[in-house]
Symmetry: C2
Subunit: 375 residues, 2 copies
């Protein structure tokens, strides 16, 4: 019987015939192959695509445990494994081409299953390769960073970058299963782990006031990487994201846009700082601060919201200001954002903790003022 510390959270993402489960455990990686076979009973061929940084031991552990399994008819399950260099530059046409060729050489067919093991880069890249090989094969997400666990592994956004534009090409392609083992976070550097908390705090602000309060009470435990707290925070984050994605899978109704709270600012920060200088979750934390200032300016919310958000971000070890913020550099990037509709500046803005709204036709001076408030 599992001890309380190894309790597995299971979240359903409800998307009709594209529904799937997210399973969140601790030291559960040894049982991943059981979960995979239970979900995909007809597995005959696994294509494991791993970030080079987690190839050994995580990807090898999963690959070898799948290879020991049998198909229902008693045949061996074929497993191929490829490591992809770490880092954003792997989300490229060249790497995608490499994966397509490798899949072909591995005699993959429409029944083969891609297993993506790594952070957001690997999930996006391998997911897009799965979405397009023979016009789409199934794939499983095994996120190994906190950011990927709470955000990119859920929701079906896959894709690569063009040289001058992030995530410009891709597909909506839902995974068949998301498997999370929090113990893989043990090798994640503090800065990267804390960056992931930026997205966690976001869910509290946009959708879930009780979770925000829980975070206020438990930020210390999260910083200490307490297993129970980490699993709970991941589960609540995934639940929030699953709900939003279930209501607006392809970002057509506007509902899914709330997930971009802080992100229009964040993308501009990341782009003007040079990608990788500010981590994504750090940029999101600063972006949420800018969005809260903008909301106060537009009289959408009171200063108390900003005060609580600032305190929680600080308690999580996240930045709340960005001294190098430059409105003149950031605004042109924001106007090119692919979520911008024909140059109309739109922002997700908080009304109160647990509720945000999407507002268009925001004037540039207001945006500039919000940016400067966080310098």
């Amino acid at each position: 019987m599992p001890s309380p510390s190894s309790e597995v959270h299971s979240i359903d993402v409800s998307l009709g015939d594209r529904s799937y489960k997210i399973e969140i455990g601790t030291e559960s990686i040894d049982t991943f192959s059981d979960s995979i076979l239970a979900s995909l009973g007809d597995l005959t061929h696994a294509l494991v695509i791993a970030d080079a940084a987690v190839e050994n031991p995580w990807a090898m552990t999963i690959a070898s445990s799948i290879a020991k399994q049998k198909t229902p008819s008693g045949d061996d399950i074929r497993v191929n494994l490829i490591a992809v260099p770490s880092g954003e530059t792997s989300k490229s046409i060249g790497q995608l081409d490499t994966l397509w060729q490798w899949m072909l050489e591995s005699s993959a067919d429409r029944r083969s299953v891609v297993i993506a093991i790594g952070g957001g880069v690997i999930g996006d890249l391998a997911g897009f390769a799965a979405a397009t090989f023979t016009r789409g094969i199934r794939f499983i997400q095994v996120p190994t960073t906190l950011l990927a666990m709470v955000d990119s592994s859920v929701g079906g956004k896959t894709g690569i970058n063009l040289p001058t534009a992030k995530n410009m090409v891709g597909a909506f392609w839902q995974p068949s299963l998301v498997l999370i083992d929090t113990s893989v976070l043990s090798t994640l550097p503090d800065r990267s782990y804390i960056s992931g908390l930026g997205e966690v705090v976001k869910y509290g602000v946009i959708d879930d006031a009780p979770f925000f309060e829980w975070l206020e009470a438990n930020a210390g435990k999260l910083l200490d990487r307490d297993d129970n707290a980490v699993r709970y925070a991941i589960a609540e984050s995934c639940r929030s994201k699953a709900n939003v994605v279930g209501e607006d899978e392809r970002e057509t109704s506007g509902r899914r846009a709330i997930l971009n709270y802080g992100h229009t600012f964040a993308h501009a920060i990341e782009a003007t700082a040079g990608y990788g200088q500010v981590l994504h979750g750090e940029a999101v934390a600063i972006g949420m601060q800018m969005a809260a200032h903008l909301a106060i300016e537009l009289e959408l919310c009171d200063a108390e919201l900003l005060k609580r958000q600032t305190a929680l971000l600080k308690a999580c070890g996240l930045p709340t200001t960005y001294a190098a913020a430059d409105p003149d550099a950031m605004l042109p990037v924001m106007k090119r954002d692919k979520k911008v509709s024909h140059g109309n500046l739109r922002f997700v803005l908080p009304e109160r903790i647990g509720s945000v709204t999407l507002l268009g036709d925001i004037k540039e001076p207001n945006v500039t003022k919000a940016i400067l408030a966080c310098c």
Copy 2:
């Protein structure tokens, strides 16, 4: 009032929220921009992707007539046009990358619409670019070859080739509208036009005995490119394809597989002959003959079916035998076909005119015998 010779056939492809219309006319190209605005009332930006061979005059005619239209709010509609070199080699990663970059440089966003003007190569390539740019934008098919009019422009299969494998990557991505003007066929060489009739005959065999009889009575008119006959043949072909695609959009139930009648043999003929040596519709004609021989061998149909099919193909000017057919070269290719399930040789085989069935576990000696029967 339109004369009888300019009657427009309109076919509905029923796919829930992905439903669309196919409009088939003669000398209707001047009104395409009206049809586009009627279907996509919110058009603000058109990305015209044309085969270099039809850039002038067809693509330019369409592009300039769109550019003269206004958005509902009275703004100009932006139009960008790019020509892609003719031929199968354009269905490459390199060309796809070129289109993605061009779309980005054209300031395309999620409301932009791709208009693909050309044969199957352009439709597949431009459709895949549309399916993936910002994770999917709308697109319109304007097929300019008979083959594309009756087959590839309908059904939502898009994609490119890998260096050693045709159509290995892509997406199911339905067009928003298919616009066909039979008068563009006037510049199509006889051999290419006749090749398209191969797919037309296929629809009669797989799904529509009355249409097969109509073809038997009207093959001469089709060879003479009689406008009324050509429009009717295209409309009936599109109707058949639309019905099958409506029942099995993503090739999951097996129903859509009937469209591949003759195609497993055809792909092997094309691959072993060197792509382009035998045109696709010619290979399909020969492949249907091989499939009919195989069906007779397996006692699925009688010799009368083969006799009628042979006579109709000949009346259309299509080949019914292939002297260079080499089972030893073709079989390995057929076993690699991505529709083959783990090496199990499956074929769509005729039972009677208007009805086919998908049969698996076909033995190699039977396949060899069917190939040799057509040498």
